[in-house]
């Protein structure tokens, strides 16, 4: 099962490595991890995308809660939430492909944020599956470079993760 875990953690040196170390030491997998300070700079918010059975997820959340720097942990995917991922993708844009790339970016509601004679950089935001579809829709030979942020997510409505 796919799970998105959100963590509020003290914004201190080494906090990230405590979390990453826990995952590797106990054999849990991390598919993506994003981290940045929140509006309160003393706290960081981390979003981890992982896969595991219910038992494994129970252990992951319990073990995360045990870390002294961790303030709160929630499994976002347990209830209604929204998730987004950002991708920057550099593509070859010459000849007839140049117009085609522009059209594809428009269809996926992407934005071209850098233009040269032969390349575009397209910015695309959405659910991870949308980013996957975009990559699949392009001619693989035209993709020069991709970079993705990994998933970040937030609960819907009154579901709030705060100290």
């Amino acid at each position: 099962m796919r799970h998105i875990i959100s963590i509020l953690i003290e914004n201190e040196a080494g906090a990230l490595s405590r979390v990453a170390g826990l995952f590797s030491a106990r054999g849990y997998n991390i598919e993506s991890l994003t981290v940045a300070p929140t509006e309160d700079e003393s706290l960081s918010r981390m979003t981890i995308l992982t896969h595991g059975s219910d038992e494994v997820l129970e252990q992951i959340t319990k073990q995360l809660n045990k870390l002294v720097d961790v303030v709160k942990v929630v499994d976002l995917s347990e209830a209604a939430h929204v998730e987004r991922e950002l991708m920057l993708i550099k593509v070859r844009a010459t000849g007839k492909d140049r117009e085609e790339m522009k059209r594809m970016a428009d269809i996926f509601r992407g934005r071209i944020i850098d233009v040269t004679e032969s390349t575009y950089v397209i910015e695309l935001t959405g659910a991870s599956s949308k980013l996957d579809s975009f990559i699949a829709a392009l001619d693989a030979g035209l993709i020069l470079e991709t970079v993705r942020t990994g998933v970040c997510g937030i609960g819907r409505g009154d579901r709030i993760l705060k100290v």
Partner: protein
């Protein structure tokens, strides 16, 4: 304004630390200088940093106070890692203060630099690198707080040398609040009520109690509870002494080398009350085999991650064992019936007990079990017993009947050879004048044997009970049973003459080779040589094995008994 080094010492004084175990070096010279200028905190100079941490660990295990070690940067720190991991696995509260190279040199591959926080991270409850002298006192306060509360554990504080030289006001907070760290104490009352209900319905109950009972100082409460319910009690290796071993309701240790009655009672119980124990692989054997029997499990533990980790739990109660037992006792006092069918269960247990699974064969040589039995008699069952890891550890656990908590000091989780002698040092520093015996083997004792020198310096009269079979006994036992007697590297040749070695360190050495000499030699060691360290080299039957035994991967009831061989 005082220096960072003086702040460190003042913090230790505020924490009522009467003794630290350590070894000086470049990065901690300021701290050692501050230590020199006072006499409240005593320092025990070990011969290897590993021993400093083991001793601090045993100081804690035997006293309920937080043990403290002090080491220098680089190799000083790396030498402590085994000791820290040992304490971590057994949830022992401990603070390890480490020197670090000056702040501006960190990351420059400076002399005696290592990434202390990185190296120790996986085996500490928490660790800190102090980057500002203003944070020093509060960090040490946090370290003691974190080490001793919740599920206890070791905490490392890494202190760069320049921080110990800088000047700062000293203000030690009385209490501490951390928004990210608030361990639960009280158990959930609804869950406790559910537990009481299930306990009263039990027909084949067992109380399975581990090291959490000892850490929480709840031995007396456990005894009250067991007596009130008339339930059988088994202890894990870490829990020994948490329930009086000479009591009728005690069915012995369970697990890989547990008694026939304990393992059967655990397996066939319809209700298990697990208290401060974690169903680990050495305790329940193969989890699939274990889960074949239908039963209800109540689990009291302060660490939620220990609950339902290996065995599905029906009634989890997260809380401090002593507090939860208080609540349980209160509810039971309000109205407790003893189910008549528990009598049938006791009859069954007595039948299992009748197998006398700890009986061992007689031999013309000294049997190791016999040595431990005599040790028990000679010390009146009241000594602190430290052990190393291997066959001798199991013999000590099986044959020394611990009636009191904190008397059995061993490395259960990590299984660290070499702890026994430094453990003895820690016990004696926390309990001056106590009888302390270190049950060990000729393999383990050589892993920290240099500490005989420390014992001489501080007059620590440990009795080393060396069960010498010239082999790494537990390895040899597995090779005999599971590797067709291919004894790969399990013989120890070129052993030193331990008697002469002990004498060379200024101690008393004895070699005991005949069964009839065992008891007189022990008596002599504990009376005539009461104030001496005595190295007792018992030449034992080399073929002696530990039974019963649940082979790795087997079910708890699939025991190999001595009588079957």
């Amino acid at each position: 304004m005082i220096s960072g080094a003086e702040i460190v010492i003042r913090c230790l004084q505020e924490e009522k630390v009467d003794c630290v175990f350590g070894y000086p070096g470049g990065s901690v010279l300021h701290i050692y200088d501050a230590l020199f200028k006072q006499d409240e905190v005593k320092h025990i100079l070990v011969r290897h940093e590993q021993a400093a941490v083991h001793a601090a660990d045993a100081y804690s295990r035997s006293s309920q106070r937080v043990g403290v070690a002090l080491v220098t940067s680089g190799p000083g720190v790396t030498n402590t890692v085994t000791g820290i991991a040992t304490a971590y696995m057994d949830s022992i509260p401990m603070v390890v203060l480490c020197g670090q190279v000056p702040t501006q040199y960190i990351g420059q591959d400076a002399f005696q630099e290592c990434d202390t926080v990185g190296i120790t991270r996986p085996c500490v409850k928490h660790n800190f690198l102090v980057k500002d002298v203003k944070d020093l006192a509060i960090t040490i306060k946090k370290a003691f707080h974190i080490a001793a509360t919740g599920r206890p554990g070791p905490v490392v504080v890494d202190i760069p040398k320049d921080i110990t030289a800088q000047m700062c006001e000293f203000d030690y907070p009385k209490t501490i609040q951390m928004r990210s760290y608030n361990p639960v104490v009280k158990g959930h009352l609804g869950q406790i009520k559910k537990a009481v209900q299930i306990l009263q319905e039990a027909k084949r109950p067992i109380i399975y109690a581990g090291g959490g009972v000892i850490l929480s100082d709840a031995a007396e409460k456990l005894t009250q509870l067991a007596r009130k319910l008339n339930f059988p009690v088994t202890n894990t290796l870490m829990g020994l002494g948490g329930y009086p071993a000479t009591d009728r309701q005690f069915v012995g240790m369970l697990g890989m080398h547990g008694t026939f009655e304990a393992n059967n009672a655990m397996h066939y119980a319809d209700v298990i009350l697990a208290i401060g124990a974690r169903f680990d692989d050495r305790v329940i054997g193969n989890p699939e085999h274990f889960s074949q029997e239908k039963r209800r499990v109540i689990h009291i533990d302060i660490d939620p991650s220990s609950i339902s980790k290996r065995v599905k739990v029906d009634v989890p109660i997260v809380g401090n064992v002593a507090d939860v037992l208080d609540e349980l006792l209160k509810l039971l006092d309000a109205g407790c019936k003893t189910d008549p069918e528990v009598a049938d269960w006791w009859a069954q247990i007595e039948e299992w007990r009748g197998r006398e699974s700890l009986r061992y064969r007689q031999s013309e040589h000294i049997m190791p079990q016999f040595v431990v039995e005599k040790l028990y008699e000679v010390t009146g069952g009241d000594a602190f017993i430290t052990s190393d890891v291997g066959q001798h550890q199991m013999f000590a656990a099986q044959y020394y009947k611990f009636d009191k908590p904190r008397r059995w000091i061993n490395s259960g989780g990590l299984g660290t050879m070499g702890v026994g002698l430094p453990y003895g040092m820690g016990v004696l520093m926390a309990n001056p004048g106590a009888q302390v015996a270190c049950v060990t083997g000729e393999g383990s004792i050589q892993m920290c044997i240099q500490e005989m020198s420390t014992c001489k310096q501080y007059g620590l009269p440990i009795k080393i009970i060396n069960l010498n079979n010239g082999m790494l006994g537990m390895v040899r036992q597995w090779q005999e049973m599971f590797y067709s007697k291919r004894y790969s590297q399990s013989y120890v040749t070129s052993l030193p003459d331990f008697v002469k070695l002990a004498e060379a360190y200024g101690h008393v050495g004895m070699r005991i080779e005949r069964p009839e000499d065992v008891e007189p030699a022990l008596r002599k060691a504990f009376t005539e040589h009461k104030d001496d360290l005595v190295f007792m080299d018992f030449i034992i039957d080399p073929a002696a094995n530990v039974f019963p035994m649940v082979a790795a991967g087997k079910g708890l009831t699939e025991m190999i008994l001595a009588e079957e061989l």
